[in-house]
């Protein structure tokens, strides 16, 4: 036992030395060269130590009215060098786009340009308080105006609300507008059903439910698309909306989309489009031409703002004329003198119906990054983005389909992602999960697993347009090798995977059964 472990907490397993790869060789420290173990920050405490210096604060008479904190917060004391090392080591346990292929279907893990980061850190953006007087924020408002213009032009829609915090929040904001419109028409009580394909992302039904709608599932046809017949049969005057993803999460374009929209509108419903996959069509297809009433964009997918290990994102929503009045505040207004104003309160009926969905004015930091990205690509480059994203996915499909199984056959092209199921693994003793973990050993982030729910053991692969042909070939070669190995009966390569990662397979069941959600002294 190393000294490092002598102060081990109850949470630290006793067998810290069993760490070595393949169990073959151990090290004393549990480290393996550049793979460095790291304790919890709370286990590095020395009271009184701090990584931030302050002079003695000026003495003042306490005006906290007896509410000054009595007990310590309980934070550990560390110096700056320790903190930098702690987070450096933690970061080294992560996979990232910067390091390699991250083909997580539906998540669009494309290259995040560093120019975006630099621009977002200009003091004129980063050091701007949201409640500064209007005269001091004209550049910020102008940026929001320009971003709106790019979004509206790309989507072919008449109105946009920038404020939602991410995609799911955009869904909420879009569906709120639909609800507000129904209220305005006096139909809110009647139209309680929202139709959602079975392949939809979980946020779609969750959003509809959060607004009190009933969720009705539409089945998909034998091509992974909405079954038009089934859909039409579900329409009636209690339908508020459909929430349809396009391209959908099976990676194909809903070619009946216009007919769906028409039938829905005919029936008095609204068309919410989940725009998470807009990256497949940006610059080539405008949702405004497809009959969409509301759609969110994930700036952190299509427009390259970083995912950051789980956010922050940004989910602007575009609206059709039918819904534009129900967009939330704030909005931007161009004044007669050329200056811009931030409208934080809307007058009239629409304002009654709908207010604010987020504090302040939205994810400004993400707006700067997204506009930087848009301008860098331009109209021509964004079109190329869609084309290359689709080309890369179809290329992988072509390379892999010999060994992998396409749940809906190979009739037409996919869009930006390709969906396989696990039937090619039948009888091998290897599951989709096992297969994913073996990919980790090969140096790849696994694809999206078990989503969408409509196929068994789904593997959804989205390479994005920022991967080279060489990288795709290496990936395809490795995946074909794995598929052959599984079929050849080398199940151990999968069930024992990952072997080389910072941790072997983690026990999710134990985590959920008796949740330990925080460190305890």
């Amino acid at each position: 036992m190393s000294a490092m472990n002598t102060q081990g907490r109850a949470t630290r397993p006793a067998a810290a030395n069993d760490d070595a790869t393949n169990g073959a060789t151990e090290t004393f420290t549990g480290n393996r060269a550049l793979h460095l173990e790291e304790k919890l920050i709370f286990e590095e405490d020395a009271p009184g130590r701090s990584g931030v210096d302050f002079p003695e604060p000026p003495a003042v008479a306490d005006r906290m009215g007896g509410l000054a904190r009595g007990a310590p917060v309980g934070l550990p004391g560390l110096s700056e060098p320790q903190v930098v090392r702690h987070y450096t080591r933690l970061s080294q346990k992560n996979y990232a786009i910067d390091a390699g292929l991250f083909p997580l279907g539906s998540c669009t893990m494309k290259h995040n340009p560093r120019l975006n980061e630099r621009m977002a850190r200009l003091p004129g953006f980063a050091d701007l308080h949201p409640m500064q007087p209007e005269a001091t924020i004209q550049g910020a408002l102008e940026l929001m105006e320009q971003l709106s213009h790019w979004i509206l032009t790309l989507t072919g829609m008449p109105a946009v609300a920038l404020s939602p915090g991410a995609g799911a929040h955009g869904e909420l904001t879009g569906m709120m507008a639909i609800r507000a419109a129904l209220e305005h028409k006096g139909e809110a009580g009647k139209r309680r059903r929202v139709l959602v394909p079975a392949s939809a992302h979980g946020t779609n039904p969750a959003t509809a439910a959060a607004l009190g709608f009933t969720v009705d599932t539409i089945d998909e046809d034998e091509h992974g698309r909405v079954d038009l017949k089934a859909f039409e049969a579900m329409l009636s005057d209690d339908v508020a909306a459909i929430m349809l993803t396009n391209p959908n999460t099976c990676g194909v374009f809903e070619y009946d989309i216009r007919r769906i929209a028409d039938a829905l509108h005919e029936a008095g419903g609204y068309f919410y489009c989940d725009g998470a996959n807009f990256n497949a069509i940006v610059g080539r297809v405008r949702p405004g031409d497809l009959g969409v009433d509301a759609m969110h964009l994930n700036l952190h997918k299509t427009f390259s703002t970083p995912h950051g290990g789980g956010g922050p994102g940004s989910g602007p929503v575009v609206y059709s004329d039918a819904l534009a009045a129900y967009a939330p505040v704030p909005r931007i207004q161009k004044n007669a003198d050329g200056t811009l104003s931030l409208i934080e309160q809307v007058e009239g009926e629409a304002a009654q119906a709908f207010g604010r969905v987020k504090g302040f004015h939205g994810q400004m930091g993400m707006f700067v990054r997204a506009l930087t990205y848009m301008m860098s690509h331009g109209a021509d480059g964004l079109r190329q983005v869609a084309e290359d994203a689709v080309l890369n996915a179809n290329y992988l499909k072509a390379r892999l389909k010999g060994e992998f199984s396409l749940p809906y056959g190979d009739e037409g092209p996919c869009m930006h992602e390709v969906l396989f199921d696990d039937s090619f693994l039948k009888g091998t003793g290897v599951s989709t999960l096992d297969f994913a973990k073996a990919m980790i050993d090969e140096g790849f982030h696994p694809m999206t697993m078990y989503f969408p729910l409509v196929v068994h053991g789904a593997m959804l692969i989205e390479p994005t347009e920022t991967e080279t042909k060489g990288a795709l070939d290496e990936f395809a070669d490795a995946l074909l090798d794995l598929a052959r190995a599984a079929k050849a009966g080398d199940a151990e390569r999968f069930t024992q995977a990952p072997r080389y990662a910072p941790r072997k397979r983690l026990d999710e069941t134990q985590a959920a059964r008796k949740p330990v959600l925080r460190w305890q002294a």
Binding site: A61, A379, V390, Y395, P413, H445, A511
Partner: protein, 450 residues
Amino acid sequence: MRYLPLTPQDREAMLATIGAASIDELFRDVPEQARLDGPVDLPHHASEMAVERHMSRLAMQNHAAGEGPCFLGAGAYRHHVPASVDYLIQRGEFLTAYTPYQPEIAQGTLQMLFEFQTQVALLTGMDVANASMYDGATACAEAVTMAARVTRRHKAVLSGNLHPHYRDVTETLCRMTDFPITETPPHVAGADVEALAAAVDESVGCVVVQYPDVFGHIADLSTLAETCHNAGALLVVVTTEAVALAGLTPPGAMGADIVAGEGQSIGNALNFGGPYLGLFATRQKLVRQMPGRVCGETVDSDGQRGYVLTLSTREQHIRREKATSNICTNSGLCALAFSIHMSLLGEAGLQRLAAWNHAMAVQTAERLAKVPGVEVLNPAFFNEFALRLSKPAAPVVDALAEQGILAGVPASRLYPGQADLANVLLVAATETVDPEDIESLARALAEELA
């Protein structure tokens, strides 16, 4: 185009492998009338230098808060963030990772979240916290819907001293879900604890009170908590300034059931209002009703300690329409910045940060109280307080901005049309304020009010 690696030759070779004659063929499922045959009407691609020039020009049209004295608060606070925070969050392994769905190669993000959750729980005085929400306002709205799930009562009572953006966001969501809301009127002279207590009855699912409130008032919430609990309601405490919780008795110690807060002021820049960091903490027993992602401890197949996302049966990707919330992407990187800043501060640093904030606010209040035409309204406060001026506050603020002084937030910006608040100015002072700043503000204010 610098971000696109495929060459024309690559594209040709790939189309050949696919067996498609052209790219257009791959888009054949798009209805013909919706296919654009050329680029949309926007500028074409631009060099890094050109984009940088454009953005710099826009940025320069703003007055950055750090260019002069800044006393703005009202839910967003200018603190000093150590250089190492921004360096570390930009490491590609953090910045360009996704939500940690594959825990074996995401232990960095996961351990960080586990530490973050612990820090938030400690700061708020609660048992557990989640891995973040979009911002304080949306966290507040989620707290109200969570309280409804827990108590099975839909009615919420909101404090009139709750930040109006938080109130609006919460009301919007509640109205959409037909949850009734009661609101006390804004009370600029002090915390409105009594009014809230008076509004509690057996139909109420939760009471939402801000601490410190939007006017900077602070009050002991223990009695209110008791009142709530006696009536079977939950007490939701909102905080818009996380640093305040370092200096004050934490909500958890006063009986809060849910704390929803804004974490921007630790580790994060002002960013014109976003991205920010929703904090969400609650009691252990309510954890399965909590919205959002949560990281938990476990072991790997060698018995080594490790971390995973857990309790995901609450979440949309598993539970779909039965989820506790529709949230998916949250504020991961802002949480990282918060967590690093907290780690740097540590107990000693955080206490001193709090002490500096209070001291500068007290000095500012004392100095401004001497300005003719200024009245400090707060019996008690932490780093923010309200003034009543002898004139409407908004034009005064505009006039001072022209001199490069960001004097505060006029209450009229938050409560438009509310005549009794027209002269009220919200002033915050953090450790970034120095004596010269205070003096400049006091002088300029005196002149403007003369």
